[in-house]
Amino acid sequence: MTHHVILRVVSKFLIPLIALFAFYVQFHGDYGPGGGFQAGVILAASVILYALIFGLEEAKKSIPPTWVRVGMALGVLLYGGTGVATWLLGGAFLDYDVLAHDAAHGQHHGILAVELGVLLAVSSVMVTIFYAFGSRQPDLTDEDW
């Protein structure tokens, strides 16, 4: 894809903004529409756009497949770990009241941790799936279209 100059220039400008928007959606999810699921997908979309424009090999250099493999598991562990932490602090599983000195603060902390886990898991899984599909060799070349 060396000849698509406009696409390359525009996406170079857009990709950081998309990633930034993902984090806005993540951390503003308590106050407006948004949350871990949406932010994870948007973050994955920025990686996918990078891979589409600059090639899969470049994308794998910047976000190595090992990272997303670890991120996948880490997200689920962070979610489950929050539940175990509330257990150890004397509450029920995923009962965030015990995480801070008062119940509402505990709920805020718990929701933040859990949504971070969702973000990690969803974005890693989406990127993983895209890498898996993108790395297969098609038996038809682009010229056959």
Binding site: P33, F37, V41, V122, I129, A132, F133
Partner: protein, 153 residues
């Protein structure tokens, strides 16, 4: 009865969309087209759920802060009971909000839907690599052509 149907034309349209997706799943022999039909069906079910949760002339389920609400709307309201916690906000709870419960269920269902779609597509890719086709009748001809009829295809 007809009047009820006319009031609920949302549901009727959603049922038509659902049946279109179902028809694609049944009739199409192409596996990718089948998956597209499945996803149309799925999205139509989401539409039905969200339609049930809609409350006429209500707000999206994001709580208004009492301070902002008092500035915008003249009238009486009661703020949430109890002293204000974390952010120092009080929320208006007695105006109409749409039902948040279907939204939560469908939100997670959408993401799970795309995950299962990815599994289905991966299976399609593997089938294509091994059989060389993704048309249903050709695959079954390869599978059963020899064994059942004693002749290769």
């Amino acid at each position: 009865m007809l009047g009820t149907v006319f009031d609920n034309y949302h549901y009727a349209v959603v049922i038509i969309l659902m049946m279109t997706g179902l028809y694609t799943v049944f009739a199409s022999g192409n596996l990718i087209k089948k998956l597209v039909g499945l996803s149309v069906f799925q999205t139509s079910v989401f539409l039905m759920y969200i339609t049930i949760g809609k409350v006429m002339d209500a707000q999206p389920p994001i709580l208004e802060k009492a301070k902002d609400y008092a500035l915008n709307v003249s009238g009486n309201y009661t703020a949430a009971a109890g002293e204000s916690g974390g952010g120092g906000y009080q929320f208006v709870t007695d105006i109409a909000y749409s039902n948040p419960l279907p939204h939560v269920l469908i939100l997670t269902a959408i993401v799970v839907g795309v995950a299962t779609l990815a599994i289905g597509l991966a299976l399609v890719v593997r089938i294509r690599e091994v059989y060389g086709t993704i048309e249903e009748d050709e695959i079954s001809a390869i599978d059963y052509g020899y064994n059942l009829e004693g002749t290769s295809r």
